[in-house]
């Protein structure tokens, strides 16, 4: 900011500030409005058309249960395998690291329907791996396992990426200090590194979970669509659209409530973690 007199500066700064904050307020209202209007329409329809009754139907209940079950299993594997993998990506240097690094990003930019086709050609009955699995009597398509595979494929990126960033922000000397104090490599990792990277890990886990919950294209193309086995909430919404619009709306509201609960709990956990650090 250039100004000649003291008074000139402050008034000009003030005016600039006002314009800037005006633009900011308008932009923020647009963002908030654009997100809240469709949500509001969903809720209004549910109330006015009595479609909340459809939430109690077996289709809705089975779909929600299956979504809870499959995303929990997916998150278990993503965290179990993704955490050490992310740590290696953050700390170690090895030949081909850049290739692996880019590979992790591919599912995030690949349209889910393309992921579904890729999975089908891998694990389908005549797929690259599926053919051999079939020889052992293992069939993946049309099973809940297929749903979990699709979810892990599209969602793991979000956890691994965030965790890598989180781990690389933990200073090496803090870890080393713990090891000098007698902690083994594993206990230094679990007692020092993981707690310090916890906010990043949690944020990544929530993103990955959200992506797994919304998984549609990969599941319908690869896993199939059958109540209680492969019909998760997004598939149930799509299927109900064929015959019962009210039920489709009810399911959308249900999944919205579920997602909202998880986001709020994650925020609460993050706040608690921040308090503990202070």
């Amino acid at each position: 900011m250039k100004g000649k007199g003291g008074k000139g500066i402050s008034s000009r700064v003030l005016r600039g500030d006002r314009i800037a904050s005006g633009v900011g307020v308008v932009a923020l209202s647009l963002v908030a409005g654009f997100i809240s209007l469709p949500i509001l329409s969903l809720l209004l329809w549910t109330v006015s058309e009595d479609s909340w009754r459809a939430m109690a139907t077996p289709v809705a209940r089975e779909a929600l249960l299956l979504s809870v079950k499959t995303t929990s299993i997916s998150m278990f594997f993503i965290i179990l395998i993704g955490t050490p993998a992310a740590y290696v990506l953050a700390r170690a240097s090895f030949p081909g690291k850049r290739v692996v690094d880019s590979l992790v990003d591919i599912p995030a930019v690949l349209p889910p329907s393309a992921a579904g086709i890729a999975l089908l050609l891998t694990f389908g009955r005549f797929g690259l791996l599926g053919e051999h699995l079939e020889a052992f009597g293992l069939t993946v398509s049309f099973t809940t396992t297929a749903v979990v595979l699709a979810e892990i494929f599209v969602a793991s990126h979000f956890y691994v990426r965030q965790a890598t960033v989180g781990f690389s922000q933990v200073r090496r000397d803090v870890e080393e200090a713990a090891m000098v104090d007698g902690a083994g490599r594993f206990s230094a990792f679990s007692r020092v590194t993981v707690p310090l990277a916890f906010p990043a890990l949690l944020a990544g886990a929530v993103m990955a979970w959200a992506r797994a919950l919304g998984e549609f294209g990969g599941t319908i193309i690869f896993a199939g669509n059958f109540r209680g086995i492969t019909q998760t909430v997004p598939l149930a919404i799509y299927t109900q659209l064929q015959s019962n619009f009210d039920a489709a709306v009810a399911l959308s509201v249900m999944v919205l409530g579920f997602a909202f609960t998880v986001i709020l709990s994650a925020r609460y956990l993050l706040r608690k973690a921040a308090e503990l650090e202070v």
């Binding site: 089908l120 049309f142 199939g224 669509n225 059958f226 109540r227 064929q242 015959s243």
Partner: protein, 232 residues
């Protein structure tokens, strides 16, 4: 001009659109192919289209009842159901009856999709012949309800499923080499009738009427026959 058409019409209408565009320079035909049930839902929710071609009378009647249709719908073509199995027929399905054998992986289109509703009617008809448990046994072999009839044919073409119910017209050049057809006895089969109508909200009523003329005319009927349909 926008045409909403049942998924089974994908190829035939695609070819007719090219003819229509050639005859009416400057006109672009946009087509949306989904199950008739999905299209009906979209129309009810205010989707703009000029023509609706349904694979079943039910969906068209519902559209008429909701005041979405401009003129009296016209049946322009019929289609019969068949059973499709992957090339080589891994589950060795020879007759309709074999679908009840335990372990057969059957896919159907979703409930409410005409092709699947017809399949259930056929199973009802077959119950009388094969015994009362037949339909229940067949339905217990269903491993997936696909979004529309073309999706269920793809499942069979890829060999992931052992069989599906589809229309004779779904035996397209794209799937012909990978899928075999098993005919359903005529006495048990359902003939699907396809009604078409200009929609009330049509922005281009005149073009829409010309489209109906093309579809119901000699050239349209010939094209539809080429794709496995039977004239109305």
């Amino acid at each position: 001009m926008t045409v909403f058409a049942a998924a089974s019409l994908t190829d035939a209408f695609g070819e007719l659109a090219a003819i229509f565009e050639e005859r009416n320079p400057g006109v672009e035909v946009h087509q949306s192919f989904e199950s008739s049930a999905t299209l009906l839902t979209q129309l009810r929710q205010g989707a703009r289209a000029d023509v609706f071609a349904s694979a079943a009378e039910d969906e068209m009647n519902a559209a008429e009842d909701d005041g979405l249709v401009a003129d009296e719908p016209e049946v322009f073509v019929t289609n019969r159901e068949v059973v499709m199995v992957p090339d080589g027929n891994p589950a060795d399905i020879r007759r309709l009856r074999d679908l009840a054998r335990p372990g057969v992986k059957l896919v159907l289109a979703a409930e409410g999709v005409p092709a699947a509703d017809y399949a259930v009617e056929i199973l009802d008809n077959a119950n009388a012949r094969y015994g009362s448990g037949y339909k229940r046994q067949v339905l217990s072999n269903v491993v997936s309800r696909e979004a529309d009839v073309r999706a269920s044919v793809n499942r069979v073409a890829l060999g992931d499923a052992d069989a599906t119910f589809a229309y004779a017209s779904d035996h397209t050049p794209d799937t012909r080499e990978r899928v075999e057809i098993i005919e359903i006895p005529e006495a048990l089969n359902i003939v699907a009738t396809y009604p078409i109508a200009v929609l009330k909200d049509a922005d281009r009523q005149e073009l829409a009427r010309q489209w109906l003329e093309l579809v119901t005319g000699q050239e349209g009927q010939r094209t539809l026959e080429k794709w496995g349909f039977e004239p109305a």
